[in-house]
Amino acid sequence: MKVLELRTASLLVGLAVIVALIFIWQGNAYALRMLAEAGCLAIVALGLNVQWGYAGLFNAGIMGFIAIAAFGSMLISYPVNPVFWQSEAPGWLLRMALIIAIGGAVTVLLSRIDRYGVPRRIRTMLTIIAALATYMMAQNALTPAAAIIEQNSGFIGGFGLPVGLGWLVGGVFAAVLAWFIGRITLGLRSDYLAIATLGIAEIVKAFLKNADWLTRGTLTVSPLPWPVPTPNEIGFVVARAAYLSITAVLIVIIYVLLQRGWASPWGRMMRAIRDNELAAESVGKNVNRRLLEMFVIGNFIVGVGGAALITFGGIFDPSGFLPINHTFLVLIMVVLGGSGNNLGSIFGALLVYVIWTMSEPAALILFRYGADWLQNVFNIAPPDDLATRALQMRVFVIGLTIILVLRFAPKGLLPEKIVKYE
């Protein structure tokens, strides 16, 4: 117990020293930005920790959840586009929504008629026909709407509501998506969830990228409104400090709530399910439902963090969601920090983000020294595109970190703590 505490403390102090060094080296403005971004990613990491650390659910599609949440947040908080509302497009969209609602309901009903004695094959056929019909009719309503929107106003714009609400809705979007995916895959083996989420993330990205009427697609939406005044208005340091404090408050709230949950019967149940599904089922835990609950809650948090991250960047660009930056980076944060330990996830998020952002200047300097040395000692001319190649090392470093952590600290730097009652 004592040793663990000491370890935690010294790691945190070490991290603080590193952050302080970065303040000195890179200046306040940059260091604050790095912290703000790391803070947003820490929220995402907490969300993943709920899934991977608490419930053992491996979500390999964080990128998709961040993307959909960023979209939700953009939709809510971006200023209203009056051109769109004055056109006839909203009418068409309403019509499409109605068609989807009715068609969806009919499809769902048809998919259940086998309970009333209709042969399964006929049911399947009818369901497929209904789904196709709904799809085509909705498409028919959408085509003119999309054309009008894209011609007149670019995209539908937002609702101009507060940013905070946007983040919340972003989280809800991610949670709803998670619910659908969870329903499909949670009954299956663990790697299926990884594959399914990996795929869903790409689907979400493809949709956001190509639904120009809704998201402006590749033409990107900017500037996204901030919850605090932007650097343009009040300067880098103050604006970022304000943003950072909002993220910090969010982290604290989420952390406290998750810790409370972790130490409560709910957390105990989740750990029980993770340990032994068979036994959990036998003592009355509805395993699949609870896992789904975890998956949804986790993705809600991921969504909030993702929305905050994208808002900080100030631009919604669907092509900007990349597996390496938005999935693997978060994954390594949780694994390195220690899955099942919330403090570990926050710690991991900060440390990994520092490594990630600092690896670039560090690699450049190292490569330059290396090149000088090569030149001077062996008289070998370094390749011309040395700088470019140095930057590619980042990906390698992240990969190496994953392997090293798995090998030397499989439980992370701050491992999960056993809950003990004295």
Partner: protein
Amino acid sequence: MKSITRRLLASATLGAALLAGTAYANADVKVGFLGGFTGPIESLVPPIFAAAELAMKQVNEQGGILDGQKVDFISADSTCADATAASNAADRMVNSEKVTALVGPLCSGETIAAANNAAIPGGVLLISPAATSPALTGLDDKDLVFRTTSSDAYSGEVLAKILKDQGNENIAITYVNNDYGKGFADALESSFKALGGTVSAKEAHEDNKADYRAEIGSLSASGAELLVVLAYVDGSGSTIIRQALEGGDFNKFAGGDGMVGDAIVTNIGEGKLDGMVGVRIGNTTSPGTEVYNKLAKDAGLDPNSSFGAQSYDAAFLIALSIQKVGKDTREGLSAALREVSSEPGEVILPGEWEKAKKLLAEGKDINYEGASGSHEFDKNGDVPGNVIHMVVDGKGFKDAKTQ
């Protein structure tokens, strides 16, 4: 415990080394380059960076900047796609490296992100050599964001007109699914329709996929006689044209500036593309292009690589502006840029750094006529569209008018 101490020690040493590294280069004038060294256009970036580096190398070799100082030209990875990473990289340039001005970023999305997040609040002049999206025009940029390439909208119009004049009635467009491709394709489609032509298919494709046969099939099924490819030579562009040729789907092609590069002929084979139409932003009346072509070839670069000339110009213009201001400061650079790039003044061609420096020292006006045009910036920081009609003939693209 032991491992922690070691880690702390290691990180401290590293930090010290880095600090030392930063201090060591302090006396020089710092200019930053942002580009997507990783990510979707990673294959396009190195030549663009090399072209800008060439400009800075010339500056350093020809007596240096200001009072013989060197330009320290540093680069960072803005990933093209990830706005967070782009603004992070830009921010480090602006706030940590404290650069005087920035070349790049290249993609429009990342340019907006970098500008809004770092360059504009930091008061840093930013010249993008490749961001072609119209969205940049309307940016509230405090007169800090410029570009040496014109907006897609104009290129689209010109291409439409060329195609229509050549007697094409029915075209198919495929574009790389990003802001560049999309903007260009939209402009081309509407212009071509306005001229009375038919666009029977207009489809996006993802860059860097292995295979586009299915997409090509869909395009060719539309019955169009000519395929416009709005992509990058080193990206999907070559693949699509090659597969379309191999499959016998199209034999007439046209392309935007991303496609104008001699590599396309090397990739596909000499003689197979003769007559392919291309447009590129630039100015044939400017002798700068030819000068640059020679300079680039001597330096071992491909003069026709996508956005290479624009990148060279951006870097050279920044050096000129700094020289014009006379000291290493961010203030007044925009105004200086407008002065050195526009009339009146003695014409400076690419590579003529010594001459420019001398003229500036004498207090004379100069007017840079660059590799990719004369760069008369308007109030939004855009250059007026000046589009050249190119055509493939033999080994590569030639100016159609000189034929």
